[in-house]
């Protein structure tokens, strides 16, 4: 095995240095990666890292309820505390540490310029309860971000406050519900394709809609005929909306989206689009031109603000003319030179309030920085590169992995299934675990559910061809090993991680959710 510089990555098989390659050690530490215990296992109530004076004696007024036992909080010395948390942080895999091809999740690079801007005192040190007159710059930034997002999507209005994708879905569907209620419409069915993100039917159900599934065609996309059939089911006339993702979760562009929109509109329903995959089409397709009424934008995916443990999500929703009036408070209103946030619903048709304040200011700053530093040409190039990278992986792996919907170009992510591994004893899960040993975060697996043993790979535009080539080489090597009968290696993987394969079944059947002294 050779690394990218052509140097050997381990001794020759069978040589003396290559004995005892089990990966097990006496200490449980591996290399300089520590096997990190819980605080409770290394600390003690007797230890402390701070030296506080004794509390003054006071007469308690607890009427005999005062604690008469030691509280038993675990303490650590400062160096122990520092090491514990630094070591844990080193185990945290992030887009800053390596390739993260998680499909439908857009783990793109978070530019450092975004961070610099978000830390400017005028943005970083302000408080939501500070008088509006003291933060005109922040309001101006929100207006400019809104303006860009509306131009990129070709929509009429925006609600900035939702905190993440699913929250954005809820916001968009609440606007649709408010519009239906205002019109006195009894429609109560939402159409959702089989390949949808699980949050789509969950959102619809949460709002009291009935969910009706729409099957996909052989090529993995939703056809207008299937939508028409679903609309006519159970008498027809009851469809409030359709929720569609475009590109869909199979990484394919829904080519009949315009016809589907016309059909839904013609019958008096609304069109919600899940914007999770907007990164494939930014600067190239405007959702407003496709007939979409509401769509969330994941600033934390498409617009490079950190997510997945690295930062909060932010899911603004863009709305069509038909829904604009129902947007939640607070929203921005410009009066000549003055910008204000409208906080009350009085005198509006707003469906109400979703969040205490106006949303994730820090993410707005990062997203606008990303947009301005790229410009429209840069955004256009980014979505093009995201699609190119996914298709490069597709072309380089399609002879060893099956494409469930045939050999067709994908968008920003490529979907394979496990059928070409059948008979090897190696499953999608095993392949994913083996990838971890090779230093790659696995792709999304077993999603979308419509494909058996799905592997959904999204490289994003951030990755260099060298990284992508290395990923492809590793995937091809692993797949060859699977076909050579090295099933045991896959079932044992991962072996180089701080913990080996976890007992997912045991964790789900008998979850232990907190530490206690008896365990």
């Amino acid at each position: 095995m050779l690394n990218r510089q052509g140097r050997k990555t381990r001794p020759e098989a069978g040589s003396e240095d290559n004995n005892n390659m089990t990966g097990e050690t006496h200490s449980g530490h591996k290399g300089l990666q520590m096997d990190e215990p819980l605080l409770f296992e290394i600390g003690s109530p007797a230890k402390t890292g701070v030296d506080l004076p004794d509390a003054p004696t006071v007469d308690d007024k607890l009427g005999g309820l005062a604690r008469d036992e030691e509280i038993g909080l675990y303490g650590l010395s400062e160096p122990e505390a520092v090491r514990h948390f630094v070591r844990l942080s080193q185990k945290n895999y992030a887009i800053d540490s390596g390739f993260y091809p998680l499909g439908s999740c857009t783990m793109k690079h978070n530019p450092r310029l975004n961070e610099k801007m978000a830390r400017l005192a005028g943005f970083g040190d302000i408080h939501p309860l500070q008088p509006l007159s003291s933060v005109p710059g922040a309001l101006k930034l929100m207006e400019e971000l809104s303006d860009w997002l509306l131009k990129l999507t070709g929509m009429a209005s925006i609600a900035l406050s939702p905190k993440a994708g699913a929250h954005g879905e809820l916001c968009g569907m609440m606007a649709i519900k408010a519009a239906l209620d205002a019109a006195g419409s009894p429609r109560d069915v939402v159409l959702v394709p089989e390949s949808a993100h699980g949050t789509n039917p969950a959102t619809a159900a949460l709002l009291g809609f009935k969910v009706r599934s729409v099957p996909a065609d052989k090529d993995g996309t939703v056809r207008v005929d299937a939508v028409r059939a679903a609309m006519k089911a159970e008498g027809g006339g009851d469809v409030a909306a359709i929720m569609l993702t475009n590109p869909n979760t199979c990484g394919l562009f829904e080519r009949e989206i315009k016809e589907i929109a016309d059909l839904i509109h013609g019958s008096g329903g609304y069109f919600y689009c899940d914007g999770a995959n907007f990164n494939a089409i930014v600067g190239r397709v405007r959702p407003g031109d496709l007939g979409i009424d509401a769509m969330h934008l994941n600033l934390h995916k498409t617009f490079s603000t950190p997510h997945g443990g690295g930062g909060p999500g932010s899911g603004p929703v863009v709305l069509s003319d038909r829904l604009a009036a129902f947007a939640p408070v607070p929203f921005l209103r410009r009066d000549g030179d003055t910008l204000t946030l409208v906080e009350e619903t009085d005198g509006t048709q707003s469906f109400g309030r979703l969040t205490a304040f106006h949303g994730q200011m820090g993410m707005y700053v990062r997203a606008l920085t990303y947009i301005l530093s790229h410009g429209i040409d840069g955004l256009n190039a980014a979505s093009g590169d995201a699609v190119l990278n996914a298709n490069y992986i597709r072309a380089k792996l399609k002879d060893v992995l099956n494409q469930p919907f045939g050999d067709q170009a994908s968008m920003h992510e490529v979907l394979f299934d496990e059928s070409s591994l059948s008979g090897t004893g190696v499953t999608t899960l095993d392949l994913a675990k083996a990838l971890i040993d090779e230093g790659f975060h696995p792709m999304t697996i077993y999603f979308p559910l419509v494909v058996k043993g799905a592997m959904l790979i999204e490289p994003t535009e951030s990755e260099s061809i060298e990284t992508i080539d290395q990923f492809i080489d590793v995937m091809r090597s692993l797949i060859s090993e699977a076909h050579e009968g090295q099933e045991d290696k896959f079932h044992a993987a991962p072996i180089h991680t701080p913990r080996r394969r976890l007992d997912e079944t045991g964790a789900a059947r008998k979850p232990i959710l907190r530490w206690n002294a008896e365990n």
Binding site: Y446, L449, E504, T505, A508, R509
Partner: protein, 125 residues
């Protein structure tokens, strides 16, 4: 003597003395993997054929179990709640889900027998 029937959504139906015992097939549990949670219907609840009657959750996915017949539940397998692994270990025995009355015996002829089901599984997998 009981007779076993199979549905296209991978439930089995064992009929004995006018009562149908329903669970998921051996093939279904093998596709789901380790089952970690089962939600069963209340007893004396009426179902139309094709209604969602129970939920089964594995480490891979959550799926609905559909009532393969029209009828009313007479009993649910409480031991499955505490030990969902039964549905993996003995799906067509101790791992049954619920029992129901047979309101329309004619519906049985729309289900498959064991041999037809095996062929169906081979064709779809």
């Amino acid at each position: 003597m009981s007779t076993t029937y199979y549905s296209r959504s991978h439930e089995y139906v064992k009929v004995a003395d006018g009562i149908a015992t329903i669970g998921i097939t051996t093939y279904a549990q093998s596709q789901l993997g380790d089952i970690v949670f089962v939600e069963l219907p209340e007893t004396r609840r009426g179902f139309k054929r094709g209604d969602e009657a129970a939920v089964v959750e594995s480490v891979k996915a959550a799926s609905e179990v559909y009532a393969p017949l029209t009828g009313e539940t007479t009993e649910a397998n409480e031991s499955l709640i505490d030990n969902p692994a039964l549905a993996n270990e003995d799906p067509e025995g101790d791992g049954w889900f619920f029992k129901m009355s047979l309101d329309n015996e004619g519906e049985l002829k729309d289900l498959m027998d064991a041999e037809t089901y095996q062929t169906f599984v081979k064709e779809t997998s």
